[in-house]
Amino acid sequence: MSAILDLKGLEVSFDGFKAVSGLDLSVGEGELLCLLGANGAGKSTTLDLICGKTLPTAGTIRFRDRDITEVHEFRRARLGIGRKFQVPTVFRELTVEQNLEVARSEYPGVLSTLRRLGVRRCDRLEEVLELVGLTSKRRAQASELSHGETQWLEIAMLVMQDSQLILMDEPTAGMTIAETSRTCELFNRLRGRHTLVVVEHDMSFVREIAERITVMHQGQVLAEGGVTDIENNEAVREAYLGSRGIAHA
């Protein structure tokens, strides 16, 4: 499998505190990688580095054989990197449909958006609405959605954006069991078409979707491998599972 994303020796420090230090990570094309780690392990910061929200103090980021370490955020998005935030971030004053229209960004220039309508109905829009079960709420304001629905809307926006690489920060946080299992289905439909990096705490969810798991600890990669490898890894048990208890998750 050829790597679509390659992180080498990444380092970030906030006021001297190293949130990420010497991180090496490689993600193959079409792969679904789960990123695990205790609170504060540096998972979100790693995603921030990939999408450009945070610039590294050292190291390089390569995406599709291109060095994007210094590339501006919106250009990274145009290159094919999408991001879902840990705190669901949608446009609360806009309707569900409008949110998805913003996400449909194959022509992001001013001149092309001037020539388009605010919301264009098309099969793709219907498909995505159907996928996350928001068809009946298409006209609702995003602020009226429940927490789970807001999470889905943001996931739907990423599907709409159709990025090659999708970074998901805790997509099932705050979801009910039924909602989580639905999200599972959704991810299984996304895999293959997109490369996914998913940060998750819910081990049953991870077991359901993960092909490969990378565990982070104190800003570094602690272990990598399949689900059973990780669950049986002593170092992981000590550093992470001890604190949250993977066995009962």
Binding site: C51, F74, R78, T89, V90, S105, T113, R116
Partner: protein
């Protein structure tokens, strides 16, 4: 066309028809006509503000900067026309300030086309430049307000200071009438009123489309969360700059019309109180809608106009009071009130329909009379 378009469009059309029918109603009262033309000219900067503040969330407290540039651009042209018979074609105030010959940058203003182009183009250019620096640096919110306000103060000082070229504190007075293709347009005429109303309608209609385009949608998204928009691949700074510059152009048009309707240009156009008044009109009308902002400007000016005839100084106080009340109780302005009422009526109608359906269904229940009682 979807329903979401239809109702607002009806509002825009109704407003257009209303302002176009004013001349027929006021008849020969040219003073009244001139007064209404003034209100319509002042609606333009409010609309401009609704565009950049209401849509994109950029609060420009220095809208008077662009408004003033527009006013001075057209005033320079009309002053030159009025001064044609002076020695050297020199405006009177230049003579008083011992300016010997017409400065080079005044020369092109002999052309009306150039003046109009400058009245729109210079604000657009300067706003693009300022916007570029501000929005690249991700300056937002109150800092944008402070910077634009500072820009306004600098512009005002410059105009007052450069008396030789601008007429200083007195501004430029005794302007000629606008002359389009040999047609003299008296600011107290129907023709001038229609010019102003037509400009406002054109801007409103263009704005109507702009707000409902995907470009408008992106601006609204940026207002809500610029960060999120960026990660979808949009160049947020560019969108903000374009909104800011377009708004400046509209304010410039308003300034040109305002100078013509008053027949002078003055540094007060670029003074802080007027720019703050623009914000008030826009907020009272409702910044989320261009039409509401225009109506806000007209209504507040009309109230202020009629009150000041009756009470003079207390008028300002009353307008200030109205503003405070609106901000406290109607955060989305009068436009928001209308919208909410419409939604509520619509909702009540829907509930009524649902209720009736439910009743009809319940009548169909396959329960025979008397059965329930058992």
């Amino acid at each position: 066309m979807s329903q979401k378009w239809l109702l607002p469009l009806l509002g825009y059309v109704a407003f257009s028809v209303a302002i176009l029918s004013v001349p027929a109603m006021v008849g020969d009262n040219v003073f009244l006509l001139n007064k209404y033309a003034r209100y319509l000219a002042l609606a333009l900067p409010a609309v401009a503000l609704a565009l950049c503040w209401g849509q994109a969330g950029i609060l420009n407290l220095g809208q008077g900067f662009s408004f003033g540039i527009g006013a001075y651009a057209i005033a320079m042209h009309l002053k030159l026309v009025a001064s044609a018979s002076n020695p050297g074609g020199l405006p009177d105030f230049m003579g008083w300030n011992n300016v010997g010959a017409l400065p080079w940058f005044w020369e092109p203003f002999h052309s009306l086309g150039f003046a109009v182009l400058a009245g729109i183009g210079v604000p657009v250019l300067l706003a693009s430049l300022l916007g570029w620096f501000m929005f690249r640096a991700r300056i937002a919110g109150v800092f944008v307000a402070i910077i634009t306000l500072a820009m306004l103060v600098v512009g005002n000082l410059l105009v007052v200071d450069q008396q030789r070229y601008t007429g200083g504190l007195n501004g430029m007075t005794d302007l000629a009438w606008l002359n389009v293709l040999g047609l003299q347009i008296d600011p107290y005429s129907r023709a001038f009123y229609y010019l102003t109303a037509g400009s406002l309608i054109a801007v409103l209609m263009a704005g109507f489309v702009l707000v409902r385009s995907k470009f408008g949608l992106i601006l609204q998204a940026i207002r809500g969360n610029p960060e999120r928009v960026r990660y979808f691949g949009y160049d947020v700074a560019r969108y903000q700059s374009v909104a800011f510059a377009t708004s400046a152009g509209v304010a410039g048009i308003g300034g040109m019309l305002y100078a013509m309707v008053l027949e002078f240009a003055s540094p007060t156009f670029m003074a802080v109180p007027l720019s703050l008044a623009f914000v008030i009109w826009c907020a009272v009308g409702g910044r989320q809608s261009l039409l509401a902002a225009a109506i806000g400007a007209v209504v507040v000016n009309a109230i202020q106009g009629s009150l000041s005839e009756a009470f003079l100084d207390t008028a300002q106080l009353l307008v200030g009071g109205i503003f405070v009340l609106v901000v406290l109780f109607l955060p989305r302005g009068l436009g928001g009130l209308v919208e909410d009422t419409a939604t509520r009526l619509h909702g009540a109608g829907a509930r009524l329909r649902r209720g009736r359906e439910a009743v009809e269904k319940s009548v169909d229940l396959p329960v025979k009379r008397g059965e329930v009682a058992k």
